[in-house]
């Protein structure tokens, strides 16, 4: 008997060791990315100039990325304003009404989720840039919206599908129309999942470079006008990191750090929203 116990304990600790070890290995790349971003980005990102000034020519001190932060915020903001309502309503529709159209939408969303973002950028270029002969923040925003849309649709669908049928039936049995039950009863019940999906889609859009290359294009100057070319944090990283100048490379690291920090904030926000909603709604 004791011999078997020893054997069991040994196997158990071996297995546990393997699990912990492999988890640590999986975390190594993540840790390295964070570490490098923080170490290289902090020197740039600890200057106030970095957050209040715009780009300056090489050699002139006090350069910043304020225009890119604002540009990212504006483009992601417009993209969300377009994609979130549209995606949420489509997602609800997929579950609540179904039918042939729903199957087509689901397929389209799945294809769109997998589409390379550069292709979406190209598509947005043809649609929103070429006709106007002009790069613009608006074109960038719409490219990002196309990118966000399928994510929002599918996460909304997933969240709404988890709501028990009893809730829907209870609403309908009160004599409420289907669309009101769907939007005012089922959707709020699914809110934590829907909001999380929307925030994660926003985070993804904020980090995308490819769709902005030939839509938002980038801009060295301050602008809040979405009809003008607009800069964004990923574009700063892309452009500055490719230059041979250490000062600009540092700007790139700083911009990357701001992006990572923004992701962290969005993720924490989505967790907070979920927890707050669950405390009130409890287990359905």
């Amino acid at each position: 008997m004791p011999a078997r116990n020893v054997w069991r304990r040994a196997t158990s600790s071996l297995a546990r060791g393997a699990v912990y070890g492999l988890t640590a290995v999986a975390l190594i790349p993540l840790g390295l990315v964070l570490w490098h971003t923080v170490v290289n980005g902090l020197p740039a990102a600890t200057h106030v100039d970095f957050f209040v000034n715009v780009e300056r020519p090489v050699g002139i001190p006090g350069a910043g990325v304020a225009h890119a932060i604002v540009g990212s915020a504006i483009m992601v903001g417009i993209a969300s304003a377009v994609a979130v309502p549209l995606g949420v309503v489509s997602g609800v529709n997929l579950v609540e009404f179904g039918g042939g159209l729903a199957r087509a939408v689901r397929l389209a969303a799945d294809v769109l989720v997998g589409a390379p973002s550069i292709a979406i950028g190209l598509f947005a270029y043809v649609l929103f840039v070429a006709p106007f002969h002009h790069f613009s923040g608006m074109a960038g925003a719409l490219a990002l919206a196309i990118l966000m849309l399928p994510v929002v649709i599918r996460t909304t669908e997933g969240a709404v599908a988890l709501i028990p049928a009893g809730l829907r039936e209870s609403g309908l049995a009160l004599g409420l129309p289907r669309w009101r039950v769907a939007l005012q009863l089922v959707l709020p019940a699914a809110a934590p999942g829907v909001i999380t999906g929307a925030l994660l889609a926003m985070a993804r859009a904020a980090g995308e470079t490819a769709p902005l290359l030939f839509t938002g294009f980038g801009n060295r100057f301050w602008t809040v006008d979405p009809t003008q070319p607009m800069s964004a944090l990923p574009l700063i990283v892309f452009h500055d990191a490719l230059t041979p100048y250490p000062s600009l490379q540092q700007q790139a690291w700083g911009a990357a750090l701001v992006l990572v920090a923004a992701m962290l904030v969005i993720n924490l926000a989505s967790r907070w929203v979920v927890r707050r909603q669950q405390r009130f709604a409890g287990q359905l």
Partner: protein, 280 residues
């Protein structure tokens, strides 16, 4: 259960003898005539004909799969949610045929439903009851009145009046079921359909709901589907016994009678077998 009298004893002294005395006065609220029901091509109900009297409790009993719940879902057209389900025949409700009516939302307001499992809306106790009245566009004073009135009528008011703002999910199972009833009462229904409302409750909560049903039957017509024959015997005025027709695989009405008659002098052999537990 060889000694039948032991079983029948409580049935004879069933609830509400005072109402039985005036049983003849009641009007028929729902008149079911040659009702058949199909899920796609499968027939689920066959040629049901009986009347459900107003301000009485009508119980529908029978073994699982005999179509009790299906029948209940015809009365408020909940079956519309099932693709390719259709009813044939008629159910007259105040002169209007439920099977063919186009005023579905009005119908469901007037014929409310309480489900087997309570589904609290993810909001406060007050908002649960106020939800439908608000969406119907009632003014805030009227909504407030409806919340208080419905919670009182559902015998929940005293337990929750000091915490109307709390989440509904903080309530116990029995309270949740009474909240479902309050929610249903808020829109002023005439008929309340109950689909196994006590099957998830403990005996004490069950008794409370049964008392409540008897109370509500003063103002509302109640139709209850139940597996629990003692429950049907305790609360109902009339009982419909349904059984699955083994040859055609669809539900049939075997017997419909005043509850004390059905339990004490069943006319049909199959009814007797079922209520005495000899049903195979």
């Amino acid at each position: 259960m060889s000694d039948l009298s032991a079983f029948r004893q409580p049935v004879v002294q069933a609830a509400r003898p005072e109402l039985r005395a005036v049983a003849g006065i009641s009007q028929n609220k729902l008149r079911i005539k040659e009702l058949s029901f199909y899920y796609d091509r499968t027939r689920a109900l066959k040629d049901l004909t009986f009347d459900i009297p107003e301000r009485r409790i009508t119980a529908i009993i029978g073994p699982s799969g005999c179509g009790k719940s299906t029948l209940l879902r015809v009365f408020n057209r909940m079956y519309d949610l099932v693709p390719r389900a259709r009813a044939q025949g008629s159910v007259l409700f105040e002169g209007e045929d439920i099977v063919t009516t186009r005023r579905l939302l009005e119908l469901r307001q007037r014929i409310g439903m309480v489900f087997q499992r309570p589904s609290p809306f993810p909001m406060s106790i007050r908002d649960n009851v106020a939800f439908a009245p608000r969406l119907l566009g009632w003014g805030s004073a009227r909504v407030k009145e409806a919340v208080a009135r419905s919670l009182q009528a559902a015998a929940l008011w005293d337990e929750v009046k000091d915490r109307l703002g709390d989440s509904a999910t903080s309530l116990s199972g029995g309270q949740l079921q009474r909240l479902s009833i309050a929610r249903c009462l808020a829109v002023n229904p005439e008929v309340i359909l109950m689909d196994e409302p006590c099957s998830a409750l403990d005996p004490i909560a069950t008794l409370k709901i049964e008392d409540l049903m008897v109370e509500l039957a003063r103002d509302y017509t109640i139709v209850i589907v139940t597996h629990n024959m003692q429950q049907a015997a305790r609360v109902s005025d009339n009982t419909a016994f349904m059984l699955m027709n083994q040859a055609e695989r669809c539900g049939e009405l075997i017997e419909f009678a005043p509850t004390h008659e059905l339990f004490n002098q069943p006319r049909d052999r199959r009814t007797e077998d079922y209520i005495t537990g000899r049903f195979g």
